[in-house]
């Protein structure tokens, strides 16, 4: 099947027609089976999420590879990196190959499994990093996300060992002793609400230690979901020293603040927690100036009952794939901090580069794999459950007005979203099967 995207505006502002044939960007001219009128729409490279929880295997009541990648497609993503905190944990070649195969089969997005750093995420013994790296899943990112690799010696060894395979450790920076019983950002509001505090220093001290470790052993390091102004300062310092560190920020940390906890509505409970206004502003600035490299969703689905509970008892996490681009537009683009080239860089090119995902460096060049997202930045919508496409509805944005709307998502040359609607699973799986041959 061939597709012609007519009159789209590229991230840099140029207008163009773009023809897709046999899964790749084709020479202009020639026929097309389907024409998409892209007048007034932005054409972005397919979005890449370095931090997604697909929950399968083990937590299928929250999400599966199928429903999670469907949510990804709805949000304009064509590739997701699936976190390792499944059950069983993704700490062996068998589990990562299974997750990858499910992604291939369903076809909504490229699924790149992340391997656990330590066996069972227990923080005691390295998992089979080499076996996962050389498996069919070709794992490049390793993380105990949800838990911090807090043992300094183990972290040093992990950094060194994954460099053998050109891998990267994605660290969930959370000093465990400083965050026992932590429920929200530590500060005057937590004190008034009587909720356990999660101090910024618990994140910043681990980042400081780990950039120094990365420098010492000459390894690459990635920091998950940076949430504080202090962390930004540490990263800025590390980068100025030439330390090979990259960092991500979530959409929710770019838009929402701790004040939302005042309602005790557990939809706003997330780890790391929502922070102060000044943190949000520092994170936006850091994403704009490159101190923070990418946006990653930390899409964390939970069943309704895990959130309909008193705050202390509710689960941490928010779904974020479907709303990510709208939130980034609201926080970064509409505020003038980032242009659409910057969006393409922080939500596609750089996450792909950090995860060693090929085919994303020149997304519009003839011959490139066609992974594309068409967005209508002029749209506004009151975000509701009808805009969610995964299995869970724990979004903090329900009822909020958000800008932008995904019009089409093209994964590997075939559409997964058209006219703003996610295409049926059988149709997408069929197209994926044809593409695999």
């Amino acid at each position: 099947m061939s597709v012609l995207v007519r009159g789209a505006t590229l991230p840099d502002g140029t207008r163009t027609d773009l023809r897709i044939e046999d899964g790749r960007v084709a020479e202009p001219g020639g026929s097309a089976d389907r024409v998409i009128d892209a007048d007034g729409l932005r054409l972005l490279p397919g979005l890449v999420d370095l931090h997604t929880h697909l929950r399968e295997p083990g937590f299928e009541q929250s999400e599966t590879v199928l429903t999670g990648t469907r949510a990804a497609a709805a949000g304009g993503f064509t590739a997701v990196f699936a976190m390792a905190n499944t059950s069983p944990v993704a700490d062996t070649a068998g589990v990562v190959e299974q997750v990858q195969a499910l992604g291939d089969q369903h076809g909504y997005a490229t699924v790149r499994p992340i391997g656990a750093v330590t066996v069972g995420l227990a923080g005691e013994q390295l998992s089979e990093i080499g076996a996962m790296a050389s498996s069919r899943a070709r794992v490049t990112v390793f993380s105990d996300d949800g838990k911090c690799v807090h043992d300094a010696l183990l972290m040093r060894r992990a950094l060194e060992y994954v460099s053998t395979f050109d891998g990267v450790i994605a660290q969930h920076a959370q000093e465990p002793r400083l965050t026992e019983g932590a429920q929200m950002n530590d500060g005057p509001l937590a004190a008034r609400l009587g909720l356990g505090g999660w101090p910024a220093v618990a994140e910043e001290s681990i980042i400081a230690r780990d950039v120094l470790l990365a420098e010492h052993v000459g390894a690459r390091l990635h920091i998950c979901h940076v949430s504080t102004a202090g962390s930004v300062e540490v990263l800025r310092w590390a980068k100025s020293r030439g330390i090979d560190v990259t960092a991500e920020v979530t959409p929710h940390h770019l838009l929402l603040t701790e004040q939302l906890a005042e309602s005790y509505d557990a939809r706003y409970k997330v780890n790391p927690p929502l922070r102060r206004d000044e943190d949000v502003l520092a994170l936006r600035e850091a994403l704009a100036d490159g101190t923070i490299d990418i946006v990653a969703t930390d899409h964390a689905p939970h069943p309704v009952e895990a959130k309909e509970a008193p705050w202390d008892e509710a689960a941490f996490g928010m779904v974020g794939l479907e709303s990510a681009l709208s939130v980034v537009q609201a926080a970064m683009v509409d505020t003038g901090l980032l242009d659409w080239s910057g969006v393409a860089r922080t939500m596609s090119l750089e996450p792909a580069r950090i995860g060693r995902l090929t085919g994303y460096d020149e997304p519009f060049a003839v011959g490139a794999r066609a992974n594309l997202t068409l967005v209508d930045p002029s749209a506004t919508r009151t975000f509701g459950t009808e805009h969610l496409a995964g299995r869970s509805v724990n979004s903090p944005y329900l009822g909020r007005t958000l800008p932008g709307r995904i019009v089409a998502t093209i994964h590997d040359g075939y559409p997964t979203v058209l006219d703003g609607e996610v295409l049926p699973a059988d149709q997408v799986a069929l197209a994926a099967g044809v593409r695999r041959g």
């Binding site: 530590d186 500060g187 005057p188 509001l189 937590a190 004190a191 008034r192 609400l193 009587g194 909720l195 505090g197 309602s263 005790y264 509505d265 557990a266 009952e305 309909e308 509970a309 008193p310 705050w311 202390d312 008892e313």
Partner: protein
């Protein structure tokens, strides 16, 4: 106001009104028949997810003196201990026909969650939630102070200029939080005393003065010294080195008691750790109003239930 979740929600007028109604309720307790027909035919549920015999029987006595039917729902040995959620419990109570819910919960904000959701459409009274608030305790404390100061002429009065020192584990104390907001609203001058480990972040932005040493606070000529219960196990989490050191620095011992005016009130929300935060001499002295607090708790809870449930007035107006 439909619910009583936090003393921070109360205006000065509302707070004084509750105390005044509690005076009326206290008068009832002096009659031969200690019972009003006001809530006859209405059902109050005491929903206690956390053990607290003292608070529960106080609410139970209050509801019964207003002729309400009382259902005591304790989490232990009930469906809650088998994993039932707050939502299911609330919906069950709604189906039974509860007209008011008194809730004690170990999670801060649980009463707010109950009040915000449509699971049950009944007034919610916070009987202590986590380390957040315990509004009726603060109200009974204010009532006790006002009564001791003004006797029969207490009605209509605030606590303007009354100096209250609150000593102990402010960080974990829901009693301290509720008292700070309420006493400040009523015009009292509140002084918190604790080692730095037991003071909440941002406490200096609260409407209080802060002292790190009890002996400094006692030089301010307080009208009230309120001792908070200290949990001995806090030392395991390094909040202080030992119970003995805590008692020496922050305990109301006989010597410190002797430095207080004869009419300074000594208060404690109970249960007391005699010999730790309060000496037997202080607890049993003429300055102690600890038993007044217990008795007044029933009057305050009667007033709150009356104002929220009777329909005689628009909630706490």
């Amino acid at each position: 106001m439909r619910h009583l979740l936090s003393t921070a929600d109360l205006t000065r007028e509302q707070a004084v009104r509750i105390l005044d109604v509690a005076e009326d309720m206290a008068d009832v307790a002096t009659r031969e028949v200690k019972k009003l027909p006001t809530l006859r035919g209405r059902t109050v549920v005491n929903l206690f997810f956390e053990d607290s015999t003292r608070t529960r029987i106080s609410f139970e006595a209050a509801a019964k003196r207003l002729s309400a039917d009382v259902i005591n729902f304790s989490a232990k040995g009930s469906s809650v201990s088998k994993g039932e959620s707050l939502k299911d419990t609330a919906q069950t109570l709604a189906a039974i026909g509860a007209d008011g819910v008194v809730i004690r919960h170990s999670a801060s904000g649980a009463p707010a969650v109950l009040a915000a959701n449509a699971w049950i459409d009944a007034p919610v009274v916070n009987a202590g939630d986590g380390t957040h608030e315990h509004p009726t305790q603060a109200l009974l404390d204010a009532f006790t102070i006002r009564r001791r100061l003004h006797g029969a002429g207490a009605r209509g009065r605030s606590l303007d200029g009354v100096r209250v020192v609150i000593v102990g584990d402010i960080l974990h104390s829901r009693v301290a939080r509720s008292n700070v907001w309420l006493l400040a609203t009523l015009g009292a001058e509140v002084r918190l005393v604790a080692p730095a480990t037991l003071l909440p972040l941002g406490v200096r932005d609260w409407p209080v003065e802060v002292d790190l040493h009890l002996d400094d606070a006692l030089t301010t000529n307080p009208d009230v010294v309120m001792m908070l219960r200290i949990q001995g196990e806090r030392m395991r989490d390094a909040f202080f080195p030992s119970a003995r050191e805590y008692a020496r620095e922050y305990g109301l011992d006989e010597e410190r008691l002797g430095r207080l005016r004869a009419d300074t009130m000594v208060m404690h929300p109970g249960p007391m750790n005699r010999g730790l935060e309060i000496s037997a001499a202080a607890a049993d002295s003429a300055r102690s109003v600890v038993l007044d607090q217990v008795a007044n708790g029933v009057s305050i809870r009667m007033a709150v239930l009356y104002l929220l449930l009777s329909g005689a007035e628009e909630g706490i107006a």
